[in-house]
Amino acid sequence: MSHLPVEIITEILSRLPVKSLLRFLCVSKSWYALIKHPDFIKLHLHRSIETNRDRTLILEKVTDGLPHYCYSVHFPIENHFDKAFKLYQPLYRRGKLVSILDCCHSLVCIHHFTLEIHHCTNEIAIWNPLIRKYRILPPEPMSKPSGFNFSKYNEIAFGYDLCNDDYKVLRVIAFYNRGQPLKEFEVKVYSLRWHSWRKIEEQWPKKECTVSSNSVSLNGVLHWSIAEDTPYDMDIPLGVECLLAFDLAIEKFLVFKTPVQREVELGTCLEVLKGQLCFIVTPDLGAEIDVWLMKEYGEAKKNRCEGVEIQNLPHWFRTATCVGSLLLLDGDNVIDPGRAEEQEEEMHYVIFRRILFYAFCVHEVLVVPEWDDLGASVHSMLVEEFLKNDS
């Protein structure tokens, strides 16, 4: 029996879950070279996305409104979630809370979360929880221009640059003086490929506005929903909304008219569903939500969705969806502090004081958590049902 040609071996290996491949790095030096090759990693990621193998939710446990530990929940089958396991993340430090910024493919961007204003020097890391490796971004100072007394994060976002096959972090710091409207911004971009930051001349385009949604990476472009600032300081932004985009390849900001017409001013949640930008809005505090799917900038189709209740989902927020991938194979290992066994933890209901709105997309399923005083329930919608309205 002749040995199988290398193309066939590659094909077979690309169908294996991450855990098996990490083990098979040991089989021989040629298998090691094959598995670690960037082309194979790409092929494997592609397969993984297609087949939902290794699909895992990384969740942040939120207690008293503050993000806390991370957990991973494997869910190979639609609407079926395995038990949650505590996950040690690389920025684990005493007294410091870590928050998930965003997730692209299977790379999760996390950073230290703090309520303080001057948190610009906190650590940021890019982490692949399925292979348990990470890379901490090099600390990058900010250069405060003269004439300003205060600084704060205006925005920080993570995305995949299609053109350059690179993962990037965008950091925008705002400088201001109390009581004065004028702000100046410093915009920097970190590239995973070059493991370095760069300042770019491009300016945050809207001086008097607040970001009213999470950021979402789609087709190599970061997106946010932003609203013009109001005279008073409110949590809930009012005013004209628009869609802000940052093209990671050409590193330029673009502003678009938002396709969403809302009657009530609530924060918008952005997601990616079926390769399209998706705006999730609750028209009022009821059980229904409006989901707008944007095919092209400025145009979107609205769909009102009712949910199908699913059980078993841990009631936490700020999630990332990982698919199996070997991205970041040459990072640092995550060390478990105290080397405790993975344990299942009791779920607790969390009641939010403010109306916060999170949604996440689990391959083809949009999951939108909701709360009432009795606890939390989760509604999920299957894309076929959802897109039935889409002609």
Partner: protein, 184 residues
């Protein structure tokens, strides 16, 4: 074991082709199925070009790299695939066929020895039988997914070219990936 009893009732005047294996077995196969083996398709098309009267004549296509037992399985699998020239089924018929195919596939895999998978993959590759290759590649991936490093080396006939201390280093780095592996 002769397979000339592979005479299906002529359903729609589909031409048949004869394939000859490495152990000199002859297989009569419907053209629709044989065309899924792109190597055969290529051979047939080359023959057709060179001999005007070739179509329908008793051309025997030699497959010196394929054993009869292996070809039998591949043909059997090929027949269960949706035929490209078949009339489009309605949704219900399609669902039933899908279920049938799933059942057939499960039965097929249950009766296969792991070593046979390697032969099937090799043959499907030689025949350029895309659907068969995909199916058996996945079956093999499923089979080795939870196996140990030693099993995989033995199975594929791979020599371990690591120094002991090198191998030890990787085993430590990814210790958690070695947990819960099947016993050899």
């Amino acid at each position: 074991m002769s397979n000339t009893s592979e005479n299906p009732k002529p359903s729609s005047s589909s031409a048949k082709m004869t394939l000859k294996t490495s152990d000199n077995e002859l297989f009569e196969v419907e053209e629709a199925v044989a065309m899924k083996f792109c190597t055969v398709k290529q051979y047939f098309e080359d023959e057709k070009d060179s001999d005007v009267a070739a179509r329908g004549s008793t051309t025997v296509i030699p497959l010196p790299n394929v054993h009869s037992a292996v070809l039998a399985t591949l043909i059997s699998y090929g027949k269960k695939l949706p035929q490209s020239n078949a009339v489009a089924d309605n949704h219900e018929e399609e669902e039933t066929k899908k279920k049938e195919r799933k059942k057939y596939e499960q039965g097929l895999l249950k009766n296969l020895m792991p070593g046979e998978l390697l032969d099937l993959i090799s043959a499907a590759n030689y025949l350029d039988f895309k659907e068969g290759l995909e199916f058996f590649n996945q079956a093999l991936a499923d089979h080795i997914q939870n196996k140990s490093v030693e099993y995989v080396r033995k199975f594929f006939g791979i020599k371990n070219d690591y120094e002991p201390h090198e191998e030890e280093k990787y085993r430590e780095e990814y210790a958690w990936a070695f947990e819960g592996v099947d016993e050899d």
